[in-house]
Symmetry: C2
Subunit: 332 residues, 2 copies
Amino acid sequence: MSAAKRASKASADKVLVGIDLGGTNIKAGIVTPEGEMLARSRCETRAQEGPDAVISRMADLAERLLDEEKIDRSRVIAVGVGSPGPLSSARGVVVYTPNLPGWTDIPVSAKMKERLGLDVFLENDANSACWGEYWRGAGRGTKTMVIFTLGTGVGGGIVLDGRLLRGIDDTAGHLGHIIVDPEGPRCGCGNRGCLEAYASATALVRRYHEAVAEGSKSSLKDKPRGEVTARDIHEAASGGDALCRSLMEETGRWLGVALATVANVINPELAVYSGGMAAAGGMLFEPIMREVRHRALRPPAARLRLAQAQLGDDAGVVGAAGCALTRAQESR
Amino acid sequence: MSAAKRASKASADKVLVGIDLGGTNIKAGIVTPEGEMLARSRCETRAQEGPDAVISRMADLAERLLDEEKIDRSRVIAVGVGSPGPLSSARGVVVYTPNLPGWTDIPVSAKMKERLGLDVFLENDANSACWGEYWRGAGRGTKTMVIFTLGTGVGGGIVLDGRLLRGIDDTAGHLGHIIVDPEGPRCGCGNRGCLEAYASATALVRRYHEAVAEGSKSSLKDKPRGEVTARDIHEAASGGDALCRSLMEETGRWLGVALATVANVINPELAVYSGGMAAAGGMLFEPIMREVRHRALRPPAARLRLAQAQLGDDAGVVGAAGCALTRAQESR
């Protein structure tokens, strides 16, 4: 886009505000209806101050961005907020959320709307990130995709025929809680053997320490116990560390077992992996695809492609804006 | 409906033809746009005679039904055919199917249309049955449901927001191939530990014989080995046979593990169980719900209800007609 065109765009066209509410930080951005991020900002969540303070901080951040970019409120189609759940996207209410103390039945959309005078749409944070990648990232041009976010836990999201799968209570898409072994290790959710208990960064580090305790050797042996991260393990694996390679391979195998189930149940054309561990690329993707080819039915296995997420930290903000755009269009 | 009204309906209103193509029998019915079955018939498939003969037999059956009911072709909105897959519903082509020898890339819709002069829509048989139960059976009034068909194998289907989930290649909904234990017994699909390898009628009988071989006692002990059926086991369990009770309980537990994954991924409001074993009702439903409550995330577990299928053998015919109705409406 030329500078003149961009200037004209910035002065007249419609925009969206995307907000990604996390336990530590709030991120916000001005996003065009085509999904281009025009400006971004962030601040601390300070969750301990309670829901009203956090909602006020989200509104402040949005207003500051709009003011800095000299965007009149009349140009804002809607505001999208991606928040930890469980929540009701239809009612715009956070039901409760383990990550934010005191958030029980909080009408986020109504409170933000009252403050900003703009339509506000609430979406599950994992769904927002999924929609961001579908709309503007690795999923562009697909119709049906899933995303696995590999971090402290394993998050997920599903787009089917160009629509987010929310389920009857906005709790669909928890791909980290696919049960891959009913007798497996305890998961944070209370169940045993969820994918998250095997393939999260936390689980990778736990399995590393288990193997070392059982006598396995590793180039990471001089790192103090509390300091070994999933990134260390993945980098050591890249450097040829045999234990770390086998741990990454095992992570890929568990991800592959879960993806084989997803292929048989959902039949998507694309599985996107995001989060720090997804940077391991082929080291994870090879065992994943091996399990899928070995385990899933032939037609869904043959069709399925894997990809790394492309939007990084922006996925949640862009996706929250994109979800708000879709819902504003639908509600007209 | 009064007799006069019914007569007027029969003489003027629009109808659909539903056909359920199975390995052994072809079933057909005249179905109203409201899902009422006005007439039904069936004939043998005689699959060994090859695709052209079977397609011709399906067309004959449809024509015979229409003639018997004195229904002019102009009153037929469309014909729906539920067939074993994999198939392409969009192209109306059976890609191949293990149950029908010689069926490779067979353009069923085009061939039937040429013969009947009517629009013909092809659908996966499991999806047809799922849609039948959703439209006119246990799923009436729901928006989002799944169905597990417990027979020789374990079939499945998924309706989301009032639409069948077909996936990118028409192979979504294979709930029998959810992996419940990656090291489990070999499944007919070649993989290990699919739900089908634990919870089909075949698997139930296999587990019975394994238990008896290991010394378990049962009231069925006088039956010759080849003659013990899933129904025998379920009836013996109802009669208090301890081994059979524990086998039914175990079946329910595996179904519950799979349903917990479905709850976390799809968040449906209803899970319908059809097929012979579903008649066991509470004996299966109690362990299923126990596992779901124990294993699934709280919100999707709290919402989920279980139900037995209501349409029995008619589900496939009614559903094939219903799918054809939906697609005829969409293609206008």
